[in-house]
């Protein structure tokens, strides 16, 4: 039979996974920022459609990662509120 301690531990284990996911996203955003700078420097002066598409896709990726991170923060808050009431 499950105990409150076990439920709390299971939620904590899930939150640990979320924390690791958040760390990976933050690391990915750092790398993405570096890639955007590198691409901007290398392709300065190009007006080719493919270059515009690359820049736009990288910006979109960064925006998605930012929203991803925001959603995980809400999830963590909700889960912590829940375990606090147990």
């Amino acid at each position: 039979m499950a105990s409150v301690a076990e439920v709390r531990a299971a939620v904590d284990a899930a939150l640990q996974q979320v924390t690791e996911g958040q760390a990976a996203i933050q690391a990915a955003r750092e790398k993405l920022g570096e890639a955007q700078q590198s691409l901007a420097a290398a392709l300065d002066g190009s007006a080719h459609d493919a270059v515009g598409a690359a820049h736009a896709s990288l910006s979109q990726a960064d925006q998605q990662l930012e929203e991803c991170l925001g959603a995980t923060l809400h999830a963590v808050e909700q889960a912590q509120t829940y375990t606090a009431t147990l």
Binding site: Q16, Q17, A23, S38, A75
Partner: protein, 294 residues
């Protein structure tokens, strides 16, 4: 090296270093967390953050797609420069991105003078491992001193080695010896590995029509090593590998997909004739065969 070649090399390097692997790691961690929370809440009206995690996972999926689009655009531009055929792409290492446990993804270590907190989920994990493998937990005096110190990547390599040797007792020992959080994280690290190994075995990217072929290649061995695993768990894993629709069942015990996916990894490796050490992120990339028969 000409100026044009230098520009091409720089663009290729930028494209290769885009963090698709890191985002995939994050996505799988979030999926694994969702699976665990779904199991915890089941009949509760409190969502415990599950919908937010679903949104987060979706954003991560979109981010990966956007990164791939950026890589395609860079490749197209290289073609415009006349450099497309200069060199083949680098080996795809994303599939092993979750196995290395890089430091930046790890939580800060506990201070050395503080004893580790007791593991609340230990008995819960071990009970389920016993049901799945048919192997009882070791007696306290048989528990190795290193219990729980292995990371998830190392646990996966141990499980794969146990599968290769066909030794169910060893498989049970390795799984029992893991901490619950380490074992549950197998669900997060195995999906890209399984997709890659299945692709290598099939000789092409796994497709929905490959489900029966993959099932016949793996099911018997998985069942012999995990007699207690529900068939639906393996079916769901194979459907996911092949990007085929699978019914989501939140009633599945979270340990089931974690353990079964690690054993399936071992079975596919064995079918490919590869050693568990090939899962080491530092190991050379195995050669991919194309249009092979499984």
């Amino acid at each position: 090296m000409s100026l044009l070649q230098e520009l091409g090399a720089q663009l290729r390097a930028t494209s290769d270093e885009l963090p698709t692997g890191l985002v995939t790691v994050a996505m799988e961690r979030l999926r694994s967390a969702t699976e665990l929370l779904n199991w915890v809440r089941q009949t509760s009206v409190d969502t415990i953050g599950v919908p937010h995690l679903g949104n987060a996972t979706e954003h991560a999926e979109h981010a990966v797609a956007a990164l791939r689009t950026a890589q395609d655009a860079i490749a197209a531009y290289l073609g415009v420069l006349g450099l497309a055929a200069d060199a083949g792409g680098p080996p795809d290492r994303d599939w092993k991105a979750g196995l290395g446990e890089p430091e930046r993804v790890q939580p800060p270590p506990e201070p050395p003078d503080r004893p580790p907190p007791p593991e609340q989920l230990g008995p819960w994990w071990q009970n389920r491992v016993s049901e799945l493998t048919g192997e009882a937990p070791p007696r306290p005096e048989e528990v190795p001193a290193e219990r729980g110190r292995v990371d998830t990547g190392e646990l996966l390599r141990r499980v794969a080695a146990g599968v290769r040797s066909g030794d169910r007792a060893r498989l049970g020992r390795d799984l029992h010896a893991a901490h619950a959080s380490t074992g549950l994280a197998l669900s997060a690290v195995t999906p890209p590995v399984l997709h890659r190994l299945a692709g290598d075995l099939l000789g092409h990217e796994p497709r929905p029509e490959d489900v029966p072929r993959l099932r016949s290649a793996a099911a018997g061995r998985v069942r012999s090593l995990l007699p207690g695993t529900p068939p639906a768990v393996l079916d769901a894993l194979i459907a996911r590998i092949c990007r085929a629709p699978a019914g989501a069942d939140t009633r599945t015990h979270p340990a089931d997909s974690a353990v079964t996916s690690s054993v399936l990894t071992g079975v596919l490796l064995a079918r490919l004739g590869r050693d568990a050490t090939t899962l080491d992120p530092a190991a050379p990339e195995p050669l991919r065969r194309r249009d092979a028969d499984a």
